[in-house]
Symmetry: C2
Subunit: 203 residues, 2 copies
């Protein structure tokens, strides 16, 4: 039965096309200005057609967020080269910041926006989201095995570092660092990162 296969293929192609177009629009004009209609116009279909492939807008955003997590995790997996776990932690930290600032719209979807998880609530619930965390977690584990963070729980250390770096990213992305001169912001983030990582290294 080649027909239903072709249909399924076409269906997947359409979904991909919608998601790719949505990604492009979001990067270009932001999430709020990326409407169902604008996606429809871009792919030259009627707005209603979008709904034949995605339940609602949230489902599209959720799919994009998932793609974001794939890219995100890829970055981290590339950070596993060094033999020294503390260096790997540093690498993860830097890659996290780079990912966030190079893909602000994706980061927004993944970590800042009110989560569009209503769609697809628990099912396939968050493995990919978990994976990023588990990479961080196991790197912290490795550090502890080498004698770092004495007396600390790995989960606590991992969460502390994550909160910290997310905080910097979120404050910058949401323009809440107005008290610092614009041209100094990146340097402040670097200085702070240096302080934090140094602190952890010397623990």
């Amino acid at each position: 039965m080649g027909i239903s296969e072709r249909r399924e293929r076409e269906r997947q192609e359409m979904k991909t096309k919608i998601l790719d177009t949505a990604t492009k629009l979001i990067v270009e004009k932001g999430i709020e200005k990326t409407t169902i209609r604008s996606i429809a116009t871009a792919i030259e279909y009627s707005p209603r057609t979008i709904y034949l492939y995605f339940k609602d807008k949230d489902e599209i955003l959720y799919a994009l967020s998932k793609k974001g997590f794939q890219l995100f995790v890829q970055q981290f997996e590339a950070a596993q080269s060094s033999a020294n776990p503390m260096d790997r932690l540093r690498d993860i930290h830097e890659r996290y910041l780079r990912f966030a600032f190079e893909n602000p719209a994706l980061y927004d979807l993944m970590f800042i926006l009110n989560d569009p998880m209503n769609a697809d609530p628990v099912k396939d619930g968050w493995e990919i989201g978990l994976k990023g965390h588990s990479i961080l977690r196991s790197t912290v584990d490795a550090c502890i095995e080498e004698g770092h963070f004495p007396g600390q729980d790995a989960a606590t250390v991992a969460f502390t570092l994550w909160s910290y770096v997310h905080g910097m990213v979120a404050l910058k992305l949401r323009n809440r660092m107005r008290m610092y001169p614009k041209e100094q912001i990146d340097q402040i983030i670097l200085d702070s990162s240096e302080m934090m990582l140094g602190l952890l290294e010397r623990m």
Copy 2:
């Protein structure tokens, strides 16, 4: 001329009424579901009337955020009792968390949402927002004078601590801590805070 005075008074009363009602609705049903129309209905006026008192919805949100900062700063000013600056820093940290979790909608407006600062962009630009930061900053200064944070810049320390606590708040408020069991989340935040503050104390 009592008449124009009375008018001005009535005008202020109306603005207050609108803001109070908006606050109530936001706390009850969230920011998104608090519409101009719902505010109008609640105060028993037509929607258009709101616009006679506020330029647009952003101006209302901005006003609410400003009120939030007043409350916020009040909390911090109450944290200046202890003679030991490191204890004051601890106190600020705790009060920050308490403020955020007791006033999630306000915190959202103040620190997470895309800022509604389009209204009233720089004029009266952010003194009140700055004030919270300056309290933190001067507490860090006092710590440094007592020999804490050797070799560190006060601005860097203040920003690091702020990013960290904001990160925790933002991750929890936006439901991004799904990898932790719900009932453990508060404890994780406490443990992490203990680790972070202990780390800073022992620097």
